[in-house]
C-alpha cells in the first residue's frame, strides 16, 4: 500500500540536503564550539554561519537568536523567562484561546505563580479582534502573546496590527511562529515583534532544535544555568549538527516559499474539488483567505474524528485532528471549541490536512478520493 503523508503540520520529513549537511557536520565538525583549539573553532564557525543565516531569515541580528530544543522550549523561555524578568512592571499577560499548548499551559503555569492572564476569544474564522485586544490591554500588561498562524486551522492573526498597537506600550510582544515560519515572509522589525518562536522540524529540518528571536535589549531570566553558551541565556553545549541542518532547512524554505505557497493553495483547490464532485457534505474550519497555505481543516457532518482518522490511516492516508490526545483518545480541540463552542458537532467531526515536501497533486487527489469513500461509508450508516 502506497502511504500518503498529509500531516506536515505535525512534523515534516527532513530534506535530503539537510541530511547531507548534518552528515557532513557530524563527520567532520564534531568539536565543541566553546573550545579554544582548532576543532572547537571549526564547530564555532559552523554555528556562527548558521546563526547568521537564520537571523537574516527573520530580519534579526545574529545576537538576537537563541537556539533552543524546539518550539516548546522557545515558547516557555519567551513567556516565563521574560515575564519573570519584567514582573516589577506588572503581572498581566494577554494571550488567545487558540494558542498551542506550549503557550497555553505555560500561561496557566504563570497564573499559578501570581500572574494574571487574559485569554482573547476568536470569531468563527479563528481570528482575534483588535478591539478585544485594546480593551484587554492595561497599564500593568507586561506581555502579549499571539500566535502567528494557527497549527490546527491555519488562521493567520493580524500580527503587524498588533505590533503597531503595542508601540508605545510597555507590553512585550511574543508570537509563536512555529507553524507560519517558512511559508510566510517574516520581518521582525516591520512587524514590531519582540519575541518569536520557531521550530526546525516543521520545515524539513531535524527534530530537537528551534530558536527564539529576542529583540536586543530585552531582559530574560534563563531557565538553564551552566556554561556561557547563547550569551548566558541558554546554557548547554550547542547541538551543532542540528543547528547546521536547521540553517540548511531555512535556506531551502526561504528559496521555495513562493513556489510552495502556490502549490499548496492548488492542493487545497484539488481537495475541495474532489469533495464537491462527489457531493460530500463538508465545511471548512477557518478562513480560506487569511490562512496558512499548507493547512486545511475540514468538518464532515455525520462522521466522527476517531473513526475518520483510523479509517484513513488503515487506508494509508496520514492526517490528524490537530488536537491533543489523552491515553491515545482524542479530546475535542480547544481551537475548534474556541471557534464554535463546546457543543458544536464540528469539534467532533473535523480533520486537518496539511501539505509539505514531496506531496504531489496525484497524492492529494487520491487522499481526497479515499476520504470521500470513508465519509460516504460512515455517513450512510
Amino acid at each position: 500500500m502506497e502511504r500518503i503523508y498529509l500531516d506536515h503540520a505535525a512534523t515534516s520529513p527532513m530534506h535530503p540536503n539537510v541530511i547531507d549537511r548534518m552528515m557532513t557536520v557530524m563527520s567532520h565538525d564534531f568539536g565543541n564550539p566553546s573550545s579554544i583549539h582548532a576543532f572547537g573553532r571549526e564547530a564555532r564557525h559552523v554555528l556562527d554561519e548558521a546563526r547568521s543565516s537564520i537571523a537574516t531569515s527573520v530580519g534579526a541580528g545574529r545576537n538576537e537568536i537563541i537556539f533552543t530544543s524546539g518550539g516548546t522550549e522557545a515558547d516557555n523561555m519567551a513567556i516565563i523567562g521574560v515575564a519573570n524578568a519584567n514582573k516589577e512592571k506588572g503581572k498581566h499577560i494577554i494571550t488567545t484561546e487558540i494558542e498551542h499548548h506550549a503557550v497555553l499551559h505555560t500561561c496557566q503555569f504563570l497564573e499559578k505563580s501570581g500572574f494574571e492572564v487574559t485569554y482573547l476569544p476568536v470569531n468563527e474564522a479563528g481570528l482575534i479582534s483588535i478591539d478585544d485586544l485594546k480593551a484587554a490591554l492595561r497599564d500593568d500588561t507586561i506581555m502579549v502573546s499571539v500566535m502567528y498562524g494557527n497549527n490546527e486551522v491555519g488562521t493567520i492573526q493580524p500580527i503587524a496590527e498588533i505590533g503597531q498597537l503595542l508601540k508605545g506600550h510597555q507590553a512585550i510582544f511574543h508570537t509563536d511562529a512555529v507553524q507560519a515560519y517558512g511559508l510566510i515572509s517574516i520581518d521582525v522589525r516591520g512587524l514590531g515583534v519582540d519575541l518569536l518562536s520557531v521550530s526546525a522540524h516543521k520545515i524539513n529540518g531535524p527534530k530537537g532544535i528551534g530558536f527564539l528571536y529576542m529583540r536586543e535589549g530585552l531582559k530574560l531570566n534563563p531557565h538553564l544555568y551552566g556554561g556561557e553558551q547563547e550569551r548566558k541565556r541558554r546554557a548547554g553545549t550547542e547541538s551543532v549538527p542540528a543547528i547546521a541542518g536547521f540553517a540548511e532547512a531555512v535556506l531551502i524554505a526561504q528559496s521555495m516559499m513562493d513556489k510552495k505557497t502556490e502549490q499548496y493553495l492548488q492542493f487545497k483547490d484539488v481537495l475541495l474539488a474532489v469533495f464537491d464532485e462527489a457531493d460530500v457534505q463538508y465545511e471548512i474550519n477557518g478562513s480560506m483567505e487569511q490562512s496558512l497555505p499548507h493547512v486545511l481543516n475540514v468538518s464532515f457532518p455525520g462522521t466522527n474524528v476517531e473513526s475518520m482518522l483510523v479509517n484513513l490511516d488503515l487506508a494509508g492516508v496520514a492526517v490528524s485532528s490537530g488536537s491533543a490526545c489523552t491515553a491515545g483518545s482524542i479530546d475535542p480541540s480547544h481551537v475548534l471549541v474556541a471557534m464554535f463552542g463546546k457543543d458544536s458537532e464540528r469539534t467532533k467531526n473535523s480533520i486537518r490536512f496539511s501539505f509539505g515536501l514531496n506531496n504531489t497533486e496525484q497524492e492529494v487527489r487520491q487522499a481526497a478520493e479515499t476520504t470521500v469513500k470513508i465519509v460516504n461509508r460512515l455517513v450512510r450508516k
Binding site: 476517531e306 473513526s307 483510523v310 479509517n311 489523552t326 491515553a327 491515545g328 483518545s329 450508516k381
Partner: protein
Amino acid sequence: MNKAPQDTRVVVGMSGGVDSSVSALLLKNQGYDVVGIFMKNWDDTDENGVCTATEDYNDVIAVCNQIGIPYYAVNFEKQYWDKVFTYFLEEYKAGRTPNPDVMCNKEIKFKAFLEHAVSLGADYVATGHYAQVEYRDGEYKMLRGVDNNKDQTYFLNQLTQEQLEKVMFPLGHIDKKEVREIAKEAGLATATKKDSTGICFIGERNFKEFLSNYLPAQPGDMVTMDGKVMGKHDGLMYYTIGQRHGLGIGGSGEPWFVAGKDLKRNVLYVCQGFDNDVLYSNSLLAVNVSWVAEHIPAGEFVCTAKFRYRQEDSGVKVKVMENGDVEVIFDEAVRAITPGQAVVFYDGEVCLGGGTIDEVFKKGEKLTYVG
C-alpha cells in the same frame, strides 16, 4: 464468511493486559489483518496527573509494536458513564449488588466498541475473554473457556447471535498458564504484568471510599433477624449478602454474616454461622433475561446455573414466563443469592444466557429482607 485470513480484519480490544495482548498475537500469527484498539472508558487521573489509562495504553503501544500491528484508542467515557456507571450507582442506591462487568460487555465492549470496529471495516472483534464461540446446528454457541478456573461466560451472558457472529475469543481453548507462557516466549511487554482485579474503574482503590464519593452513606443499626441490635453499619450500600468481613461484631461463637437489608428502616440484618438457614433460599426471579440462542426457550426446562462468578454450577429448573422474566427453582437450597448479580444458565459447556437476579424466595415466599 469465507475470506482468507489476510483479507479478514479483526479488531482486538486491548486493555494493556496479558490476555488481550496474547489474543492479538495469536490472531496475527494466524495471518489475520489485526488492528489493536484501546478503549478509554474512565478518567481516573489522580491529583499527581497520573492516569492508569495512560499507563495501560503505553503497554498497548509497546505490545502492538512488538507484534507489528497498528494501534489506536477510542473514547467511550460518556457511553460508559451513561450506560454502565449510572446503572451501577442506581443499583447500589436500591440496596443491590450490581455487576458492572456484565453491563460493560453488553453496552460497551460488544455494542459501542463493536459498532466502532465495524465502522473501521472489521469483520470480527476479538477480546482476551476466556470463552469460546462455535458455529453448530445452524447457530452460534457460546461455550465456557477450557480453563474452567478463568471461564468468563458468566460476564458474557447477555451476548446474542448478532454479536457472536462477529466475535472471536482466541484464548477460549487455552488455559491462563499457557497464555503467560506464550507472552513470555514472545517477549511481550505485558508478559509478567499483574492481572487487574476488582471493578475496572475502582481498580486497587478502596471500594468504600470510592463509592462514598458518589453516594451519601447513611450509617444505621446492624440487627439480628429477631431485632437484637448488634452494632452499627456504615451505610447499606457497602454490604452484600453473605459477606463476612467488615462487620466488626466480636464475641464468642461462630462468625457473623450479612443476611439482608431493610432500606426503609436503614437496617442491616446479620446472622451467625456460615450455614445459617437465613442465608439459604430455594428459588429466584430473574429479569432482563437474554438468551444466546436465536429461538428463545419457552416453558420449563432443566439446566445448571451460576449465581456468582467462579461459583460451582447448581442444578435448577427454569420456568420462562410470558413477559420474558424467568423463575429459577434450585434443586437444593443455595446460600447467599444476591439481587443485582447475574444468574447464568448452562447446558453442559454451553452458556445458554442469563439475567439479573431481582427477587429471592424461600419455599415460595419472597425474602423481603434480601430485596
